[in-house]
């Protein structure tokens, strides 16, 4: 019984997380689409000497 309750709660938490993540992505896309072409030029990620990359 307690196990079923935990699973249900976990499933609800994951669903809420997915909805929040989708909303955040949609908001980020909306912000980008409202940018001017000049503002959209911040896309370069440069390689770092020790490996990896940074904006």
């Amino acid at each position: 019984m307690a196990e079923r309750g935990r699973r249900k709660r976990r499933s609800a938490e994951l669903r809420a997380l997915r909805i929040a993540s989708d909303r955040a992505e949609a908001e980020m896309i909306r912000r980008h689409l409202e940018m001017t072409p000049e503002q959209r030029l911040d896309f370069l990620r440069v390689k770092l000497p020790g490996g990896g990359s940074a904006l």
């Binding site: 896309i29 909306r30 072409p37 370069l44 440069v46």
Partner: protein, 158 residues
Amino acid sequence: MNAHPYLRAVARALAKERLEAVMIGNAAAALQGAPVTTQDVDFFVRDTPRNRAKIKAIADDLGARAWQPYYPASKMLQLQSDTLPMPVEFVFVAHGIRSFEGLRSRAVEMTFDDGDWSVLVASLPDIIKSKRSAGRPKDQAVLPVLEATLAQKEKMRG
């Protein structure tokens, strides 16, 4: 990092040498409004001896060297220089792109700095098609956000 000074230099060299090139890949997707980043800038060009000569001239203009990675297998020329923080690639063949003319007809000319310079940018559906066709993990990874951007653009267009 902001690509403005570097892309402006490349765009001016393209204009000077009259090379017709359409920007593709993640840089093009970013200019189309997708929240993505990239380490290089790719242009699709017709594979002609004249265009190859123009690319060499552009390399000279930018103080870069043009070379063909994985020669002779690759169908591209890459520009590399200490003054460019990113490689600039001119590709002659790309997944999902059948012809330069088709890509060019659907591309948009994006202008910057009040019309001071411009680049031809592939349409988002063409970028998505190319990435889907390439099918590499890094292309697959970016597809959901590109598709979501396209959906949002169409929604905003009404």
